[in-house]
């Protein structure tokens, strides 16, 4: 474990150059992060989310059958497994390899953990020609469980792949196969189970949700003197807002900003105690649960008879949301366009002059922007949050070009890694973002994702970067004149 405490190697030099952030590549250190695994799932959670409560009998065979099923269902997966030329362009692009130096965290090597099993059962000729192939066994499963849960499915590697191989698809397939044989992490399964039991990832029961909203109304009254509402379960509202439940727990400035936003526009809105979560941990586990979690949002929208669903400041919510039409749709009972992310909604209205804004209200901070992997790379929202920041702040600085937009680094805890037992991996993986932020001298890091908002303050503290982390709407909230 001593190695872990030291990574990433302290001797590496990070500096800003005119070509972007110089990102040093560590020496390879085999098995450096092998001891770091997630706590295993609990039977009660697995039962609640319709997965096997223990390792299924003949799990090796069952896993291969599941792989075969996925190969038929997702042609992309088979293509990705077949076409990789092992060129290594992805190797030094992953924040977890850069952080740990463990070669299994190179995207190509991580994918090879599945590829070697695929070859063994489905590519006999290649196998006889001497390509690496291995049957699915306990040792391979251990590697899968370790390294496919040290990947945040952020897809930075795929941006640099000359073939465009989406390694996150491979991680997702491996996690899906493991889930089918009863192998999953406590963190992810517990969160999905809470959504079915209480409607949201945090497990906030309805009465507590209402109490929170009333409390925030009082806070808003004290701050603005206005009767700004935080409505819950209001049938016939125009908008159903599905935000990360963390916004009504930890990121309360963002939650209050939503309230001010709709108040200023005079738009009626509501949250739902059935679906008070946009976030979708099913995405980090398997298809069935992703679908079931996402469906709750449309069910709530029908129940509350809203005209539109708006997704809040959340990354994985948005990645699942953009599948909604094919996953749970059609969404044609809602006003187009759909789905809508709150940054699209707000940026559009700002452009149309819907708000009175005093930018000097944010003059106390130098703002920079972190693209959450799911909002930016997976969800194509590159301009909207930036337009919001430019419209609400005088002082905005971008991080080095090789660390933002589609090349953004993951915060280090997406994809179901935001759990304490992975803390060394999280801090190692968060280092590129910390260094990029340090290079700007910014004092406020805006980001529209609850996982980033939970992870980045820890990362910045760990790497000694003095910056406050908060939402994008928080800035609008500060600058808006009501």
């Amino acid at each position: 474990m001593t190695k872990i405490a030291n990574f990433p190697p302290a001797t590496l030099e990070w500096k800003k150059t005119n070509r972007g952030l110089h990102i040093p590549v560590p020496e390879m250190d085999e098995h450096a992060s092998a001891p770091l695994t997630c706590y295993p799932c609990k039977a009660k959670d697995m039962q609640a989310i319709a997965l096997p409560t223990a390792r299924v009998p003949q799990w090796e065979t069952r896993a291969v059958e599941k792989l075969q099923e996925l190969l038929h269902k997702y042609r992309g997966l088979q293509v990705y497994l077949d076409i990789c030329a092992q060129c290594g362009a992805c190797a030094d692009k992953c924040q977890f390899y850069l952080g740990t130096g463990d070669p299994n965290n190179m995207p190509v090597a991580r994918a090879n953990l599945l590829r070697k099993v695929y070859r063994y059962y489905f590519k006999r000729m290649e196998r006889f020609a001497g390509a690496e192939a291995e049957p699915f066994n306990e040792e391979v499963l251990r590697e899968w469980y370790t390294y496919f849960y040290q990947c945040s499915e952020c897809r930075r590697c795929s941006v640099f792949c000359p073939y465009g191989i989406d390694t996150a698809e491979i991680t997702m397939a491996a996690r899906e196969i493991m889930a089918a044989i009863g192998v999953a992490t406590k963190y992810v399964t517990e969160v999905v189970a809470k959504v079915y039991e209480r409607g949201n990832n945090l497990g906030i029961p309805g009465p507590a949700w209402i109490d929170n909203c009333q409390f925030l109304e009082e806070e808003l009254k004290a701050e603005t003197g206005k009767d700004i509402r935080m409505p819950v379960d209001e049938v016939g509202a125009d908008v159903l807002l599905v935000m990360p439940s963390a916004d009504n727990f930890a990121n309360t400035d963002t939650m209050m900003a939503y309230g001010k936003l709709f108040y200023a526009l005079g738009v009626s809105w509501t949250t739902s105690t059935y679906a008070n979560e946009g976030g979708n941990f099913g995405l980090f586990l398997n298809y069935q649960n992703m679908k079931k979690v996402n469906r709750r949002i449309l069910d709530a929208a029908r129940e509350l008879k809203v005209k539109r669903v708006i997704w809040g400041e959340c990354g994985h919510a948005w990645r699942a949301a953009i599948y909604t039409n094919t996953l749970n749709g059609p969404m044609d009972f809602l006003d187009p366009p759909h789905p809508v992310h709150i940054c699209q909604f707000t940026a559009d209205l700002i452009q149309r002059g819907a708000f009175k804004i005093d930018k000097t209200a944010n003059d106390d901070v130098l703002v920079t922007y972190h693209d959450p992997c799911n909002v930016a790379r997976a969800g194509s929202l590159l301009e909207e949050p930036r337009a919001m920041i430019r419209a609400t702040c005088n002082k905005f600085v971008e991080m080095p070009a090789n660390t933002i937009r589609e090349k953004t680094f993951c915060c280090g805890a997406g994809g179901g890694l935001l759990t304490d037992e992975l803390m060394p991996i999280r801090m190692a993986g968060g280092k590129p973002r910390a260094e990029a932020c340090r290079a700007t001298g910014a004092t406020y890091l805006a980001t529209p994702c609850a996982i980033c908002k939970a992870q980045l303050p820890e990362v910045m503290k760990h790497w000694n970067v003095g910056v406050k982390v908060g939402g994008v709407h928080d800035l609008l909230s500060k600058a808006m004149i009501l």
Partner: protein, 106 residues
């Protein structure tokens, strides 16, 4: 499942040391957890103000209160709460107050 050796009995806790049965919580157990797991030698009246608020809120609502409420209700700012509970309100304070660990995107 790990256990906590408390006064000769084995108390079930989760991997992070949070008791799994909140109804077994009492003030003496809070002192025990504070000392053995959080390295807080003595619980002052300010500690108790936070602990009791958390515990009562959990009894009423079945979840930890939002941080903003904790600071408002106790009158302590976040910095002071971190001084009282160095591992933070969600980890240290909730553990001592017998609440389950808050998980999700937090």
């Amino acid at each position: 499942m790990p256990f906590l050796d408390y006064k000769g009995t084995q108390l079930e806790v989760d991997e992070d040391g949070f008791i799994t049965e909140p109804s077994l919580w009492n003030e003496d157990l809070a002192k025990f957890i504070a000392e053995t797991q959080e390295d807080i030698k003595e619980l002052t009246p300010d500690h108790w103000k936070v602990i009791n608020y958390l515990n009562n809120y959990y009894k009423q609502f079945g979840i930890a209160p939002m941080i903003r409420k904790v600071t408002k209700e106790t009158g302590f700012d976040l910095k002071y709460i971190y001084e009282l509970f160095p591992s933070g309100p969600a980890k240290g304070a909730c553990k001592i107050a017998g609440l389950p660990k808050p998980t999700g995107c937090v």
